[in-house]
Symmetry: C2
Subunit: 469 residues, 2 copies
Amino acid sequence: MAQQGVLTPQNEDFPRWYQDVVAKAELADNGPVRGTMVIRPYGYSIWEHIQSEIDQRIKAAGAQNAYFPLFIPESYLSREAEHVEGFSPELAVVTHAGGEQLTEPVVVRPTSETVIGEFMAKWVQSHRDLPLLLNQWANVVRWEMRPRMFLRTSEFLWQEGHTAHATFEDAAAYARQIHHDVYNDFIQNVLGVQVYLGIKSTSERFAGATNTMTCEGMMGDGKALQMATSHELGQNFAKAFDIKFQDESGTSAYCYTTSWGASTRLIGGLIMAHGDDNGLVVPPRLAPIQVVVLPVRDDEAVNAAVDRVGDQLKVAGIRVTTDRGRGSFGRRVTDWEIKGVPIRLEVGPRDLAEGLVTLARRDSGEKVQVRLEDVASATTNMLEEMQTAILAASRHRLSSRTADVTSVAEAAEAATAGFARLPWDLVRGEGETQLRTQAITVRCLQRADGSMPDHENEANLTCIVAKSY
Amino acid sequence: MAQQGVLTPQNEDFPRWYQDVVAKAELADNGPVRGTMVIRPYGYSIWEHIQSEIDQRIKAAGAQNAYFPLFIPESYLSREAEHVEGFSPELAVVTHAGGEQLTEPVVVRPTSETVIGEFMAKWVQSHRDLPLLLNQWANVVRWEMRPRMFLRTSEFLWQEGHTAHATFEDAAAYARQIHHDVYNDFIQNVLGVQVYLGIKSTSERFAGATNTMTCEGMMGDGKALQMATSHELGQNFAKAFDIKFQDESGTSAYCYTTSWGASTRLIGGLIMAHGDDNGLVVPPRLAPIQVVVLPVRDDEAVNAAVDRVGDQLKVAGIRVTTDRGRGSFGRRVTDWEIKGVPIRLEVGPRDLAEGLVTLARRDSGEKVQVRLEDVASATTNMLEEMQTAILAASRHRLSSRTADVTSVAEAAEAATAGFARLPWDLVRGEGETQLRTQAITVRCLQRADGSMPDHENEANLTCIVAKSY
């Protein structure tokens, strides 16, 4: 049904296909300042659904939203040595404001550990103030030399959580809770992407962290995408910003802090994890529009049925829209396919004469005729089946395209088509450097059973290596 | 019941009282960079409710959310002469990024007419693309020389709507729809503030607008606060950014655009419109916490009743929290009063023995005993009564402290204690200049019947003048 040639085919040029989808699905445009992006209404409505799902989970984990300033004194960054080293090359600096040169330049936040650390120090006095669990939804700026829409933009939108705890164990447990119950739960059950959960190697850690946990998904071209990260910051920022508390005995001690974030990059992941040559495929639970009702012809009986069907779906709690728009039927089909709407519900005069309408499922292309009176239940079922099928496909891709190998050379070979898994002891140090020359990085470390290690120095770890976005 | 001396009394020093409330209700802290602000969790939860209420209304008016970049090329600002003149003194400028000096400095958006204008020009081709109705939730920066928390901060959060239309009439009607159905409806029916709706005089207009409509509220000290504005931009930005469309006959014409915004300043309005010497008073429909349940004593029967009551209120759809916290009962009462929670529900052993609990209403101080089985309905009724009473009090203040006067001298006198209303013909030109020397400004112009004029040059207009925030 879809028109040919609207999008570059994936196997011809995957990056070009990606750009085509971003443009043709009306997700985003390039901004006028290098590396910035305009998120268009359809792209933003996907982001609103991502936000809402993640925000619910963050609140369920007990964190509260707050808002910290965009501008950070340059001197704050320097207080944590690794942090400033990691972020300096990416900073945007305001030197003039209010018509004058500033005495101290301010940086546009690349992330907010420093400024939030300053306020944690103010707010935390006693063990009774802990844990302090904060989150903010904000824009951040990291100047990008090689920008790519949603994946690497000079400005992006995200949430960043920041917490302070009395003990190492409490901080570690909370960072893991966020990683599992917020990120992995959302990514798997809503975004429909199966990921590897693991920890980063030292060289891939967040600047200033003692441990970084990651969700690594596999995109359609076999490359990895880091979809969300949670960091244990140890006492690094607590010492830099003097975040101290008095314990029950009255002794003063530094807190342990964590931070964790997920961004508009998830939309890039959505596109590349599920998209096909006809465009985006949005999992039903995430989709701003779950069903589009399309009249095959502009005629009275059809129009009446379109209204009735739309109402039935709304009552059933389905996010539905009706497209009586201009353009041919075929053109509209193509447009909604590019936008990845899970189900297209076609209402035509011939079907209608038999009391039927047609449901077309976006991921499989499957078309079924259903009786008008069954439309709500059939649609609900199809949406659930599609959600399940999308995750199953993602899971299949991840396992079938992860090769277990036994040498760095084999890993490099396997990483041309997917992920490679091998003993960490074969890679650490020398091997990691060698792989990096071929643009292959260690995506994460895992235990042999696939679970997340506590730290890099556990025995018998495996590592997943891949090319990545 | 409340402890004395926690807040500076309003009549002793209103600005100091305001600062005390912001600090003691844990709404916000000063940020490290001059004029910036940290919005603390309780303050931010109020903002989330404001956002949700306004966002629903914006969507109901047909506008779609999108996101445009923080950074705007400096040259964009200059394209509309009045716009650049108005905003230049407040701009923050990024001159360095990614470790290099930028060839063209970029400004941090003070508002987004320019960058959105650029994209409207790209997206609008034909009359079928109109109206184009966009909104964004974002942070903006306007460098403040005399910052004041929530009211004037160098960075603030807001929504800014931007629309393009085929005709002057359509643009004018939409700007008015937003003004009435989004802003005034929210401010009156949720925030509980009665405002004057009117248009700004030429000298008080948004830089680049042909007409600015405003909602002017009266604060507790009789000063005015501009709570939201909607602008008709005529073809000014359309010409500057080449926003053109082809009409049905194929003729090319410039669009008419509008913009409209409301910000975290509304929280300042909330504080000053309803607050009293015991702190904030949050209208029930807006309140993140509508009822706080306080056990008078830590005992088994009391604790069981507290749980039961909490559950009953939740089931009734009331936003309730229970405070079994540390600190004395009296201290907790004071703290929740400062936070302005509409109803305090006290559960004590003596009341309980008779099957009763006590409801204390934040605005009036009224306390009533209700039977345990009636607690949900009694609370629901009290919340509704309080919402009505708050608006009635605001309405009473606005009318009783607006003096109808017949000269500029009388207006200046009246503006020391409230608003003054007088014929616009007495003020325009000379009078406006003279009043400004006494820090009194024209807040808005109205028709004699209080309705909103189409433009400044209608005959027989009245004007409202006042000191303002």
